[in-house]
């Protein structure tokens, strides 16, 4: 069973990673790798969470890493399409104040 798939789109200095499925301990390293690669290739990174159904603390750690990388590179790290369920988790952990959520 594929727990998470990432679809990558690039355009004009920004990489969009559409994340589908569950972002947990087992899938988080995959997204972390994709985010690090995206920051190497392009300036800004955007995560499309439209099809994300769950995020665990390991997933939040990946968002934290993304945030830190963006800050170090002075780049933009944004989230789009965040569902109500995911938004609840982000609000609970205070990520809504730290991330750019469109």
């Amino acid at each position: 069973m594929i727990k998470m798939t990432i679809t990558k789109m690039q355009d004009n200095g920004k990489t969009t990673l559409a994340v589908e499925g569950r972002l947990d301990t087992t899938t988080a390293p995959q997204l972390q790798e994709a985010i690090e690669l995206a920051f190497d290739e392009q300036k800004d990174v955007e995560l499309d969470f439209s099809l994300l159904i769950y995020v665990s603390s390991a997933g939040l750690r990946v968002l934290l890493i993304g945030m830190k990388t963006a800050k170090a590179k002075n780049a933009k790290f944004t989230l789009t399409g965040v569902s109500t369920e995911i938004m609840e988790v982000l609000e609970m952990t205070g990520f809504t104040d730290m991330l750019t959520i469109v």
């Binding site: 301990t25 750690r61 730290m98």
Partner: protein
Amino acid sequence: VKLRNKILIPVALILIVAVAMITIVNYNIARYYVTDMIDTEIDAAIDNIIAAERLSKEITGIVIDELNVKNISLVRALAEIIRLDSSALETDEMIRLADMLNVTEVHVADDDGILRHGNVAEYFGFDFASGNQSRPFLKILDDPALEIAQEAQPNVAIGAMFSYIGVTRTDRPGLVQVGISAEILDELTASFDIQKTVERSRLGKNGYMFIVKDGIITAHFDADMIGRSFNPSVQQRVSKHRLWLTFDGVEYYAGEYNTNGFTAYAVVTRNEFFSQINMMSTVSIVVSTVAIVLILLLLLFISWRITLPIKSLLTASKEIARGNLDYSIDIHTRDEIEELGVSVNKMAVDLKDYIANLQTVTAEKERIGAELDVATKIQTSMLPCLFPAFPHRDEFDIYASMQPAKEVGGDFYDFFLIDDQTLGIVMADVSGKGIPAALFMVIAKTLIKNTAQTASFGGGGKSPKEVLEIVNNLLYENNDADMFVTVFLGYFEIPSGKLTYVNAGHNPPLIKRAGEKFDWLKTKQGFILGGVEDISYTQYEIELKAGDELLLYTDGITEAVNNEEELFSEQSLLESANKAYDLPLKELTESIKRDIDTFAEGAQQADDITMLILRYLG
């Protein structure tokens, strides 16, 4: 042994079929060959008979021609004797001359063709014109130059077979004639008898010839058969001159040839005909059988050479399967079997290495597992676990529990007196699992408790907001692993019931007012601890009355999963807590845990399940 049979049985079957086919083909070839051979013999024998018959006729003709010439000379001499001496015409003289000349009859006729003189007196006066046999001689009277030598035929007088020769008289007109008995001619031609040729002709071992004329056997290999009538029953006619016939109860293969008024037969008995074919077939069967036996022996040898190393391979694999990994085989067949042997040897060595390696790895895993168990125990033992925790305080009751997941996690709770009037309560969850989470948890717990207690030591007193801001920066430094911890930190002022708290990214607590049900204590959440430097937290205050309860927990409860990967959810927690709200604290936590277990349907617990309940007694 089975492999050998697999090779031998099909080959043997193929060979047997091949031999059967060869035998059938061979039989037909043998039959064709034998028939051809016998046919050749039959043709030769019949040719021989026909040739002999023709030769005999030719020779007889020559002899008769020669004889006629001599006899004519003889008759001329007789006529001359009569001219010289007429007394020779006396009957007695005639008899004497006939004996002397060795002829049967002597006749002298006058110019009227009337017999006047001779050695047989009763013929005197016979008119030559009166008989068919004698009449042709009258031509001599008209043409004295004519000489007549007649073929043997019945004479006029008695019908006996006679050959007559006649010429003109030289003393006066008339004719002189002598008669020679055919018996003399028969004696002359006897040496050319067909019977002798037939007796000399043999076909194969027992084949022979015979001649049939007008249905009567006239010549036969067995002279006793001559004169018997020949009435065979024809079984099958093979061709114009070949047939199968039965005579006297014996079946023969026969050659039949009609010529010059007789039929020549050359016959071979059926038994001989087929015994020759069988003999030829038998030879080929014997040769084929010997060849089969030789081929099978060769195959036996080949299969032995193949199966012998396979047997040693079998032995080797059995030994290796039994665990004898030091077993090694030695095959030098310079073929695939040898390669297989080398592979088996390599496999044994590899297996040995692998097992040794596996043992090392297993030992290593066991060691790590044991160490993780110790880590879990250390982690658990760091949490206050003696209840009642504050037996001398009757203003509040507190109970907490943590049920660790299989893998060591990062949940922790804590409660401690900051001063005589203030109880600090902590519920926290470190991101991730395993040893890193456990280590981070130890640091976080220690920092929070120390910071909270040290702060008050100076007398100035630090609020939960200040404590977490300090700890956040402490955790942020040297946090290469990018770990973080969600923390609920509350200061409970016992006399007043005032609760000052900061929620740094942790699950919102449940609060139950006296006489009411549990509900969420939802306020603006702060950011997690250890993620970002210099965070400013907001702290909130609420007032607890006697009988109020505060339930803290971690996401191990709300995110517990069942086999369908469904989450237990905040709603279920709320319902579960309200179901057992009036129970003592310990029983309340146990009831919630039971509900989670029921929900999980035996699915493995993924995260620590941690709860803390504070009840204010006033």
